[in-house]
Amino acid sequence: MSIQQPPDNGAGHFESPAVTSDSVTANSKDGAQVKKQPPPEKASDVRRRSHIILSFWLIILLLGLPIWWKTTTIYRADLPLQEMLDWSDGKACRPVFPLRISIQANSLQEQEAQNLLRLTQHALDDLNDFSGHHLRLQLAPPSATEHHNRESVLTIRLVPGDATTAKFDPHEPILDITYPSNAIPSPTSSSSPLATYVAGQLRSTFAEEQATISYLLSTNSIPSDHRPQGLSSDISDSLSKRTSRSLKYAPTYHLTFSLFTSGPLPSSWDIDGAIGEYMKPVLDVLSPIHNFTIDTQVQLYATPGVQNQVLNKEDLSSFINAAEWPLSPSIGGAPTVNFIVFVGDQTIAAPAQSSEEDGAPEPSSHSWMMPQWGTVYLLPLPNDTSHLSVEALKQPLLTFTSHLLSLTGTPQSGSLPLRLSTLSRIRSADLLLRASSTLGSLARLSLALPSISIPSRVADGVSKTMHHLRLACETLGGPEGLAHARIAEAEAERAFFEKSMVGQLYFPDEHKIAVYLPLLGPVAVPLVMGLLNELKAWVKRRKEAAAVGRGKKME
């Protein structure tokens, strides 16, 4: 298989096979004279070698290169980067919460009511300094009776009475205001104590919501001209404390109710009935915002982490015996909220200093709340109780319910219906901002890493997110707004955490050398060298053929 270099004098013999046979005999004589000179290659051998090299290179060029191109190009779907960045910078959407408040004044003349409305609106506009959160008054038609209008978030019922008082209806978002008959403003007056009073009431009712939303906007990257001014530092401190106490938003929360007893009794509890009785109503009203799944457990002879008879404030944080109590951190991906009823004879010491800052977990005599985790309720019981009835669970469950509301981030002031509608608005704003900032992160990521792949699923998710964000922005404040914001947030998260994107991290070019070279390098060396040799020999033959041609012409 020796590959022999054709000696120079043999070049002329490649013209025709007929001459070649002569050359063999001629060269065998030469071979006898000059030992080291191999005979020239036959033309057929040279042609065969070119064919072999050609067969390898044809496979490389016709199959290898297209396959290489096809399998290693990174698919990058087109993302509307500028639009995504606009969303995250807050340029695409001005979060505006137009809140309609209807005034029901059945005992007033149409004219008087209109006048009062105008004055109150003036007073409100004077007080308000945040354009995003806007209270708009309207007069409810006198025919509309008890039931409050679905369109408006709050109905004010003006009823004549002895003095100026305000009282929230506990079941409906209705504010009852009584006024003395002389408080009706005259049509010409430009101010009225009643109007100022109503405006002040409204202002204080929505102050917390306004502060929370301004806080949310200020912590996100909303351009400063849009940002509300004058958020005092102590308010923002208390808000940040509250945000850190409440659980991170999740579409589903898992509630775990645990009964731990220090002795053998009680060994059963009617938790199902108790939840249905005391907690279900609140879960139902929370259901547009969160889903809840529930499980319960009982453990006897449970030892708390602190054995003291009287628990101090410092003991509370270590009361949970995390090592032995079966409290799983989260079930099925949803964050878990733990509610623990501990039956034992321990008590909580009265707080030494009652000047607790607002928003900190305030231990009552029986229970305390653990930020982002849940609630513990100490239940003292006679020793022979073997079964906890629904009645016995009433107080713990009511405590749990109120703690659940603050764990989900419900504001603290106002009547319950009002608090819940406020919660849904706060959550919409929160979700909207989070989805927007996720979009922004995705856009920045794809700009920063030019070689990351972007599957079409991500592009789909982004366009879906933006569609729902737009809808959410238009209907902000209403229930559809929340639904759209939820979808947008879920889609944005899915697009950002797309598996194939996370899997294929940035792959620098020097790594590619390490991938390609170990296998393809050794394969390429003989192929490239063979090709080069063949080309060199071909050029040489051409030159010699030309020289021979010239020589013949000269003759």
């Binding site: 290898g64 399998t71 792949s453 296998l519």
Partner: protein
């Protein structure tokens, strides 16, 4: 000639001896076939008898045999095996089928040997051709090769492919191009990779045509052969479609070979590489490995144009090394073809080394696999290292045979160099 005179009695003795040996092992050591069936060296995901039984069970219960992703073999094996009585009640019929297939392969090999194609082809006649083994010896070497026996006992379905390939070659050398093309189509249908044998096989059939009804034009002959293969394959695919009721078998059989989706260890080089491969480069390197395997076909066919049977043998050897799911049955097929070149054995330089390396790997391979999987005192690298050695031995054999054949050709051109040291440059 070794002087072994072939008589009908000797032929019968050989076949009966081989059949009895297998039957005795089957009956006296009833646990051994199942043990061998489970060995990764014998059963690959595309040839395993266990997986065939799974597919057969599903097929007999009117479920698509490819549901569950275990069965990756050709659909037409199912009706064949469901004709046989159940393996659990009457295993003897399955044994007899496998023994018969082995004997058929041996008879094809015998015909190839007797044709003398290895020593003198249409375009080249070796001066050493007189020194050769008879068909009897070559068939005996095949039948009593431990690798062949183990494959038969392990009931790997690769024996059908082996049989089809050997018959294709036998038909080609006996001047029956049509039969050769049908046989190679069956082999390709069963395992896909034998399709790569088509170029040298077409050349072999072209060279060995009967002078009476020969087709003189080579392109025309190649076109007829290619269309025959395409037609037979199309008919087989259509039949498979009728049997299974869907085209699902295409991705489940050939797709698995192309994409290597089952990474069960075997004696080949692919599985370890693709366990370690970055996911984003997986498809690229799959293509590289397949191109590497197929790129030899063109080069070898052109280089050894004068002896197409050598090209076939060498390509079979390369398959045994670089196939996606090789097993020892591929090595057995290559080692069955090597003795045809008894006349160039004196020109081979590394016979001792390659034999020793192959035997070394044969002994240590199962031991290292045991250390990795059962004892837990080794890891995957142990087994992969020994498969590297195994393939090194086989590549030595392939290279050595190639060298010897080329040297044989070269000495015809340069008679004055016979017996002299040469240097490869």
């Amino acid at each position: 000639m070794d002087g072994a005179k072939v008589t009908p009695g000797r032929t019968a003795c050989l076949y009966i001896g081989a059949a009895v040996l297998r039957l005795v092992i089957f009956t006296l050591l009833p646990g051994l076939p199942d043990l061998l069936t489970g060995r990764v060296e014998i059963s690959t995901p595309v040839t395993s008898f266990k997986r065939l039984q799974e597919g057969l069970f599903l097929y007999n219960h009117n479920v698509s045999p490819y549901d569950g992703g275990v069965y990756h073999q050709a659909p037409l094996l199912l009706p064949l095996f469901s004709l046989l009585p159940s393996i659990t009640r009457l295993p003897i019929f399955t044994y007899l089928l496998y023994i018969a297939v082995d004997l058929l392969s041996a008879s094809a090999l015998w015909r190839i040997a007797d044709s003398g194609e290895a020593g003198s082809s249409a375009l080249f006649t070796s001066p050493r051709r007189e020194k050769r083994w008879s068909g009897l010896v070559i068939a005996a070497v095949f039948l009593f090769n431990p690798f062949t026996v183990a494959t038969c006992l392990g009931r790997s379905t690769s024996v059908f492919t082996t049989c089809a390939i050997l018959h294709a070659v036998a038909k080609a050398v006996s001047g029956a191009p049509f039969g050769a093309m049908v046989a190679i189509s069956f082999a390709s249908y069963l395992s896909m990779y034998p399709l790569l044998l088509l170029p040298p096989l077409v050349l072999l059939s072209y060279d060995r045509q009967h002078s009476g009804r020969a087709i003189k034009s080579a392109p025309k002959f190649a076109a007829i052969c290619a269309s025959t293969v395409a037609g037979v394959l199309a008919a087989l695919f259509q039949l498979s479609y009728l049997v299974t009721g869907s085209w699902e078998f295409l991705p489940s059989t050939y797709g698995v070979q192309l994409t290597l989706s089952d990474l069960t260890p075997n004696v080949g080089l692919w599985w370890y590489f693709f366990i370690e491969m970055f996911d984003s480069f997986r498809s690229f390197f799959l293509a590289v490995f397949w191109l590497h395997l197929s790129s030899y076909v063109g080069g070898l066919t052109v280089r050894i144009r004068r002896q197409p049977l050598v090209a076939l043998t060498l390509i079979l050897g390369i398959f045994a090394i670089f196939k996606p799911y090789p097993s020892i049955s591929d090595a057995a097929l290559f080692q069955a073809m090597v003795p045809l070149y008894r006349h160039v054995f004196p020109l081979m330089r590394y016979t001792f080394v390659s034999t020793a390396v192959i035997m070394y790997a044969t002994c240590l391979g199962p031991a290292f696999y045991y250390l990795w999987i059962y004892a837990g005192s080794g890891n995957a690298n142990f087994f992969y290292a020994i498969t590297l050695v195994w393939n090194l031995g086989q590549s030595l054999l392939v290279c050595d045979l190639l060298f010897a054949v080329l040297r044989d050709e070269w000495e015809v051109e340069r008679p004055e160099m016979v017996g002299k040291e040469i240097r490869q440059i």
